[in-house]
Amino acid sequence: MAMKYEVLVEVSLREGIADPQGATIERSLPALGFESIESVRVGKAIRFRIQADDASSAKSTVQQVCERLLANPVIEDTAITITEATTGDAK
C-alpha cells in the first residue's frame, strides 16, 4: 500500500554565486547589536507531502521534481530530506 512521506527541499545558491540578500542581511546585523554572525546565505525551504510505494521511489520522484521545477542547477543546489509522515491528514 502506498505510504505518505514528508519532504523538505532546501534550495540554495551554489557556492561562489553572489547572494545579495544574504550579504545585505549580514551588513545590517551589527547595527542591531549582532556582531558575531557571518556567511549569511538565503535559500528556499520547500515542504510538501508525497505518496509513494516506498522511500526510494519517493526520493526518485522528488529528485525529478527538483530538477524539473524547483531549482535551476546552473545557479542552485538542492538538498532533499524525506521522512515518513505521521498518520493523519496532511493539512
Binding site: 545585505t24 542581511i25 545590517s28 547595527a31 538565503v42
Partner: protein, 248 residues
C-alpha cells in the same frame, strides 16, 4: 565603512528643501518630511506632487533621527534595502524610524505609500502584513479604489464612497491579517481604501488602512502618480491634500 544602519554619522545629504511651493503663496507652507532609505525611488515624485499643492517638501535621510520640524511624514515607495528578506524588514531598524514612531504616537500625520505601507506594518504602526500578490506577479497599472472612510489623515478631504483612479505598482501588496485584526479594522472603520477589482488578493479588498488614532495611513496605490491629468488621473491630489490639512 559604517554599516547600513550606523548611528549618528553624516548629516542628511538633503539638508536643503528640494521643492518650493509656488511663489507668493499667502498661506504658511507646510513642511512635509519625506524619508529616504537606500533603495527608495519614489521620493522625488512625492516632492514633485506635493510641490503642485504648494507644500514644501524636505528629504530626510534614513540614518538621521531628526525630522527637522516636519509637520507630516511620508514614507515613499521603492525598494528600501532592496526589499531583501521582506519589504521593510531592514528599513524598520533605521534611526529615523524611531523618530517616526514617536511622531506618530504623538499624533503626527504619517502616510506610507506602497513600500512605505510595508514599512509601517513591519515597524508595528499598522497591523497586518503585505504578502506577495496572489498572481505572483509584479503589477503596474491603474486601479480603481473606493474611499471607505473619510475619517483618516489621508482621506479627510474625500467623500466616503468616492471612487478614485490611482495607479498601483507592487509585487507585495496582498494585505493579510488575522481574523481578529480584520474584524477590528472593520468595526473601528479603519479601512480607508478598498479596491474595486481586487488586483492582488488582499483580504476584504483592502488597499489602505489607518491606525486607532487615525493619523497613520498606509496604502498600496500611489497617489503621487495621480496628480496630473497628463499622466492619466489627478485623483491622488485629494489624498495628499488631506495629509496637508491634517498637518495644519
Amino acid at each position: 565603512m559604517a554599516s547600513l544602519l550606523s548611528k549618528g554619522r553624516v548629516a542628511s545629504p538633503f539638508v536643503k528643501p528640494l521643492a518650493q511651493g509656488r511663489e507668493g503663496s499667502p498661506k504658511l507652507q507646510i513642511v512635509v518630511g519625506i524619508v529616504v532609505f537606500p533603495g527608495s525611488n519614489c521620493e522625488h515624485d512625492v516632492v514633485e506632487s506635493l510641490g503642485s499643492l504648494d507644500a514644501k517638501a524636505q528629504l530626510l535621510w534614513h540614518s538621521q533621527a531628526d525630522l527637522q520640524n516636519s509637520r507630516a511624514i511620508v514614507l515613499p515607495g521603492g525598494f528600501a534595502h532592496g526589499d531583501y528578506l521582506r519589504p521593510g524588514a531592514i528599513a524598520k531598524f533605521s534611526n529615523i524610524m524611531n523618530s517616526v514612531v514617536e511622531f506618530a504616537r504623538a499624533g503626527g500625520p504619517v502616510l506610507g505609500i506602497c513600500n512605505g505601507f510595508q514599512i509601517l506594518t513591519e515597524v508595528g504602526l499598522l497591523p497586518g502584513a503585505l504578502q506577495k500578490n496572489r498572481g505572483l506577479r509584479f503589477i503596474c497599472e491603474m486601479s480603481q479604489v473606493v474611499v471607505s472612510t473619510a475619517n483618516s489623515s489621508a482621506s479627510r478631504q474625500l467623500a466616503q464612497g468616492a471612487q478614485l483612479s490611482i495607479p498601483i505598482n507592487h509585487f507585495e501588496g496582498n494585505f493579510t491579517c488575522s481574523h481578529d485584526t480584520l474584524e477590528q479594522l472593520q468595526q473601528e472603520d479603519r479601512i480607508v481604501f478598498r479596491y474595486l477589482n481586487n488586483p492582488n488578493g488582499s483580504v476584504d479588498d483592502i488597499a489602505g488602512i489607518t491606525n486607532e488614532t487615525r493619523n497613520v495611513v498606509g496604502m498600496m496605490p500611489h497617489p503621487e502618480r495621480a496628480c496630473d491629468p497628463m499622466l492619466g488621473s489627478s485623483d491622488g491630489i485629494q489624498v495628499l491634500a488631506s495629509l496637508l490639512e491634517a498637518a495644519q
